[in-house]
């Protein structure tokens, strides 16, 4: 199963495109890294792939078929700021089970404690909330997960814990993951491959997605330190 974005162009103004003819492909079970300078359109690309942004040109498809709206989207997007991704007036357990009833297995895997479920979102830390955002998105119906800088705000140890859980569940459910991050060590560790989204022309008229093998190559020079 392949999630494909083909010839994707997007701009808030006609003469200033952020994405210009971008192609991207993500297979089931694959972990693909996406790096790029700030403002190169990584997050915009993520939103387009997950169906959040509708006014783009090009096509997003799964195995050649358009992704239906109005039903559970097999492409789920996780944001950088989990506190914005939860309704502050909902109890955690309602937030958790909004998309599907999250299995005990997943809860254990993320180290989610029973006592957290009866709290309000503002009573949990960012790292704790992000686990809920992930757990609720990892339903059996989810085929692709787009992780837009999801562990940027947590410390290294929590980062490892969260990613171990994600990779473990994704492998079991055969989910493809797109990892957006500025952290090259993380990408090196979790991704099979990394692609580079650049904004070569200052006027933003030209974008290029270059595929590079991450297994051997070092990321130095690609990612701003």
């Amino acid at each position: 199963m392949y999630l494909k974005g083909e010839n994707i162009s997007f701009g808030y103004r006609k003469d200033d495109l952020i994405l210009n003819n971008v192609d991207i492909s993500l297979g089931s079970g694959e972990v693909l890294g996406l790096v790029g300078d700030s403002g190169s359109g990584k997050s915009t690309l993520c939103k387009i792939l997950a169906g959040y942004e509708k006014n783009y040109q090009g096509s997003v498809s799964i195995d050649g078929k358009k992704i239906p709206s109005n039903t559970y989207n097999p492409v789920q997007l996780i944001f950088q700021h989990p506190e914005k991704a939860v309704n502050p007036r909902w109890k955690i357990k309602d937030i958790l089970n909004e998309g599907h009833v999250v299995s005990q297995d997943v809860l254990n895997s993320f180290g989610i404690k029973k006592s957290w479920l009866d709290r309000w979102p503002n009573e949990l830390s960012g790292g704790e909330l992000q686990r809920f955002a992930l757990a609720r998105a990892l339903s059996p119906e989810t085929k692709f997960l787009i992780a837009d800088e999801i562990t940027t705000m947590v410390d290294a140890i929590t980062q490892v814990q969260i990613w171990e859980s994600i990779l473990d569940i994704a492998e079991r459910l055969n989910i493809g993951i797109l990892v957006v991050s500025h952290e090259k060590n993380l990408l090196k560790k979790v991704c099979h491959e990394v692609v580079y989204l650049s904004r070569i022309n200052n006027a933003g008229l030209y974008n290029e997605l270059a595929f590079r093998d991450m297994q051997n190559a070092s990321l130095s020079g690609m990612v701003p330190e």
Binding site: Y52, Y72, E98
Partner: protein, 285 residues
């Protein structure tokens, strides 16, 4: 429940956290309003009747608020007037809230509807408030119905604006998009995600409109466009007392005015404190 806690004295009050103190305050104020309303309904009509043996008496134990130039007990009249005011206020704020709920939701339906609602709000705000109440009230034939509907139909503007802005803001939140991505319908999202944010607004708006409505009712009546003179409304009492103030009968205006102020402040305190309770982010303060 509230009284038993209050009877335990100050030491007990100090031991309570803010949330408990807030709830206590709200129950006390509600109790005060209920008492006023209930006692106004059960007042003996004979105490409202004229008694020329006891004209213009200063406040005493027998007549705590004194008596007027026709010997009527001002305490009984004030209570009845307050009861009437509370009912007018409650009714008017209910109408206002209903109108703003409908218009607020309408504004979220589309751009044209939104422009229409904004236009309507601007239109109503461009006419001086008191003038509009008087116009509507006279147009409906005056009297209690005229005042109630007039006050009710003119207080929805600010709440509608708040509701409209709130819906707009919530609709751009990430969790709304996520909910859509979970395959939830617009109706489901409006009910489960947006409504919980609006209920406190409605409730608070309703309570905060209440004092406005009461004061407007009193001022319209005071100006002579409202309730008929034989009804013991606060506005009537105040406007009548004007003629006797110069003669030194200060209690005719002082006690009714003071009571109205206390009722209005009580409602305001309830509104402010309910806001503290209903926001989960403020729950710990």
């Amino acid at each position: 429940m509230s009284t038993s806690v209050a009877l335990n004295g100050k030491g007990m009050l100090r031991g309570l956290n803010l949330r408990q103190r807030t709830i206590l305050l709200i129950s006390l104020m509600s109790l005060l309003l209920m008492t006023v309303l209930a006692s106004s309904l059960y007042i003996d009509s004979s105490s409202l009747s004229t008694n020329f043996d006891s004209r213009n008496l200063a406040p005493s134990l027998e007549h705590p608020f004194g008596t007027d130039w026709m010997g009527r007990d001002m305490f009984a009249r004030t209570l009845t007037g307050l009861g009437l005011s509370i009912m007018v206020g409650a009714f008017a704020s209910a109408i206002s809230t209903f109108v703003s709920v409908v218009l607020g939701l309408l504004s979220s339906m589309g751009r044209a509807a939104d422009s229409f609602v904004s236009w309507l709000v601007d239109l109503f705000l461009s006419i001086p408030h008191l003038l509009l109440i008087i116009l509507i009230s006279i147009g409906l034939g005056g009297g209690a119905t005229g005042v109630i509907i007039g006050v009710g139909l003119t207080h929805w503007t600010s709440l509608t604006r708040v509701v409209r802005a709130e819906i707009k803001q919530i609709n751009t939140q990430d969790y709304i998009h996520i909910s859509r991505n979970f395959g939830k319908s617009n109706w489901w999202i409006a009910r489960k995600h947006i409504l919980p944010h609006l209920v406190p607004q409605f409730l608070l708006g309703m309570i905060l409109v209440f004092p406005h409505a009461i004061l407007h009712e009193a001022s319209v009546t005071f100006l002579g466009f409202g309730l008929s003179p034989h009804e013991p409304a606060i506005g009537i009492i105040l406007s009548e007392s004007m003629r006797y103030l110069a003669a030194g009968y200060w209690w005719l205006a002082f006690f009714p005015g003071m009571s109205l102020l206390i009722v209005v402040l009580a409602v305001d305190v309830i509104g402010e404190n309910l806001g503290k309770i209903m926001d989960p982010r403020k729950a710990h303060e």
